[in-house]
Assembly symmetry: C2
Homo-oligomer: 508 residues x 2
């Protein structure tokens, strides 16, 4: 009995897994090999840059080294929302301001006014006055104050609800902001985050790296990818029954990969649920400028919460935004922000400490955020150019979205919800049993098999639905509608020809 | 007995801590408050932006709002290696190239050749030819190929050992690279990393966030902060005896906060030790251009390992570099790289996946890395200007380092090793018992108490040695020697006057 008590005591201080790990670690030390890599890294997946992209890179290399050796003309990256990689041009005003900030000596050179618009020069001077150390010094960890104020002004105007710069954190793109929040929130494997299925794989990857639980809730494809509260409550209850504490709810609106825009009533339901259940509402609103359905204008969760008043009391909300999306598409600048609502000073201090460990986000990216939220106003010298550039991109995206979705819906066994927003269509594809068997024989998911075949046949890179997770038994892929408008007919035609051939080969 | 067996079985699947956590999580859900923040975040500290900096910010605010209300003229940030924040100007060539890349339309405008050097224009065209999508698109996750090739060429020339672009990863500053490597490496609380004491607090913070162990080894202050192998072996053995697996050894050379440069024989010892013990050698070499002692020129660990031949067989080495230090001081650009040596393809694939989750580092920062490693060559139009700007900065830093150290050594009870490299002096200060008692009464470490008193009296912000950890019973502070040369006499004079007063107040 004494020995049993000793054993019991030992077990109380270390789990079986810990004991096993200690036994291993008292063995001879081991180098960094695949056996000793952090298993959380091995468990993480990021399909947007996964197998399809690696194969596309191999094909590109072969095409470069032996032109004509593959029967396709070019690799077309529809796997990632990276507009400038497929021909979209940056907007002139912001780039002029950024060039002047990189090289402030230009401002004093004779002839500079022939190369730069006067309002771009004025804006550069405004930033330099506020940041005399320039873009080459570390900024405050939270981001330079002038840009945080510009973000606060933008949010105040957008929502009709006051925002303050103390609640704004500038980040290297929205992804980095999401990582900070999850790091702050997640204490370990007994914490979980409610994530829509399908989801953007940043969330599943970040949760895998944190070794926390992804608590899935399925969007309703038949209802335009809406978020049914009953389904979220089901996932919540299941998690709690297993002893997992749900800490946050992720909502992506406009949707990625789904391309939908949530109706305001659905948003209100989610706000009420998060307030009631004390879940941090993580609102991924990076596509807020990418809205193509006039019946579903973008409304922020902050605004919806404000309108709900007492029903939203106690809500903790984090809203993420980015310069990578919208009509700017400044992905390479890695600029983004998040706004906190409903967090106390102690929590904010911990977050500030966490971001300070990485010193600060890149200052040119911070400036890009300022330029996004404070564009030229009517009367400014660059206003007409800016508006024309913006409208050309957005109206073209709207036409491309509608053309692509129509083209997809014309294919046998393919159905696709309207792309109301974002940069993506996410069609459902019915794959014949023979195709599923062929995929299984390769050890691949059927939609990965389909997407690889599409790539080999056409050079078009899409992401299989399994990379985003999807309702069991359904198969999808995500494609951007970012290729140049002149190429869209050809893209749709090639997808259609491939699909017909695929169905002929594998159909019943 | 049956019930005991059931209990035993339950304990085998979950540790006591896990059980406690599950009990908590089945209680009503809780919002994100200080009680529910990830304890790993609460446990992390980052002194470079800690209490001293917060107090300095408060003082600055008061000085702005009520000029003259504090008896000091200005806040002088000696807490952080942020050269452009204290007056250092960016080098012209690189900034010209970056401006052209931000605004490529400039290249075709009449009159542009009056504003930009011809080699800057040629370099911009070279980058644009290699990256036709420009700086606004996501790059490959590992970084753009042309810059990785430039880094490989730089390393090959520096070390006389071939480097290839496949081993280079471009990152948002060196900090981000360190975070990636630790994430890849550390499996949990039974893994540890050997870290020098004193250390740069990025390492302690990152380890705290990973909930892995910091395995301290003390540098030998009396021997110019050398790294005694016996001390490292002591720490290794202690860790292993406790069941902790040492996975890596961090070396910072030139040293931070210590400002020393390691002799080559000491470096060889460390390489042999890492190869023998299968420890990943994490070589923080970001200060490689900041070397002021002609007897200790910078030598990379890669070169030392190469010269050791078979003695270094099996070594796994990661070398980190950054645009933030050296003579560029481009901190705000967040550009850096690391080079892998001795890792296999499977490990590299996991690292690439990990990096891809954040998409890519900021492309302007990547370009800044290319500009660092491939400066203008003799014969290029910008060569003379570049050399003059570089030499002015480096020779001034050398003078300032020597002046500051001499000034510190003149103070009662203060001794400071020569600043052979980096941007810092790290003097040892003997604090009288009365000062220690006064500190204790405030709940502060004696060196924090001293540094706060220095700040209140002079406006000079330094970092207390306890922020870097230090040998028990010793007290230090870290100060940069970055203030403008014209201010250095005044800085030293103010530090001296403060120190005399402090010693008069608290001395025996």
């Amino acid at each position: 009995m004494l020995r049993l008590a000793t054993l019991l005591s030992a077990l109380c201080t270390a789990s079986a897994a810990q004991i096993a790990a200690r036994r291993d670690s008292s063995a001879p030390p081991s180098a960094l090999t695949i056996e000793t890599v952090n298993p959380a890294v091995i468990g993480a997946q990021y399909a947007v840059r996964g197998e399809l992209v690696l194969r596309a890179a191999e094909m590109q290399k072969q095409m470069n080294e032996q032109p004509g050796s593959i029967g396709i003309k070019k690799i077309l990256a529809c796997n990632i929302g990276n507009p400038q990689a497929v021909g979209q041009q940056p907007l002139s005003f912001g780039r002029q301001v950024q060039a002047l900030l990189v090289c402030p000596a230009l401002l004093d050179m004779p002839g500079v006014e022939k190369l730069f618009a006067p309002d771009a020069m004025a804006r550069a001077r405004e930033y330099l006055a506020a940041i005399p150390e320039g873009v080459g010094a570390y900024s405050e960890s939270q981001g330079v104050a002038i840009v945080r104020q510009q973000v606060a002004d933008f949010i105040t105007a957008r929502d009709g609800v006051a925002a303050v710069k103390e609640d704004i954190f500038l980040t290297d793109g929205a992804s980095k902001g999401v990582e900070f929040l999850l790091k702050l929130l997640l204490r370990g494997s007994d914490d979980g985050v409610l994530v829509p299925i399908p989801q953007y794989p940043l969330y599943s990857a970040a949760l895998a790296l944190s070794q926390a639980e992804l608590l899935p809730y399925e969007l309703d494809e038949a209802d335009g990818w809406s978020m049914p509260v009953a389904e979220i409550e089901r996932s919540l209850a299941e998690a709690r029954a297993r002893g997992v504490a749900p800490r946050a709810l992720v909502v992506i609106n406009p949707g990625n990969p789904t391309g939908n825009c949530l109706p305001r009533s659905n948003m209100a339901d989610l706000v009420r649920l998060c307030a009631r259940e004390q879940l941090v509402l993580m609102a991924d609103e990076v596509y807020q400028e990418n809205v193509y359905d006039d019946a579903r204008p973008f409304v922020s969760f902050k605004r919806v919460a404000s309108e709900l008043g007492a029903e939203a009391a106690g809500l903790q909300l984090v809203s993420f935004h980015s310069v990578s999306k919208g009509f700017l598409g400044e992905c390479g600048m890695r600029g983004g922000y998040f706004e906190l609502s409903g967090f106390d000073a102690e929590v904010r201090a911990q977050l500030l400490k966490l971001v300070s460990i990485g010193l600060c986000s890149n200052v040119m990216g911070q400036i890009a955020v300022g330029l996004m939220v404070k564009p030229p106003r009517p009367g400014d010298a660059s206003h007409a150019t800016y508006s024309a550039e913006r409208d050309a991109i957005l109206s073209s995206l709207r036409r491309r979205a509608s053309k692509l979705v129509a083209g997809l819906n014309a294919l046998e066994g393919v159905t696709c919800n309207e792309a109301q927003g974002a940069m993506y269509a996410f069609p459902s594809i019915t794959l014949p049993p023979k195709a599923q068997a062929a995929a299984e024989a390769q050890g691949r998911a059927p939609d990965t098999f389909y997407a690889l075949a599409l790539l080999e046949a056409t050079g078009i890179v899409v992401v299989p639905g399994s990379g985003f997770r999807q309702k069991e038994g359904t198969w999808h892929f995500r494609t951007t509608f970012l290729p140049p408008e002149a190429d869209m007919d050809s893209v749709i035609e090639q997808m259609g020809a491939f699909h017909s051939g695929f169905m002929a080969q594998y159909g019943a």
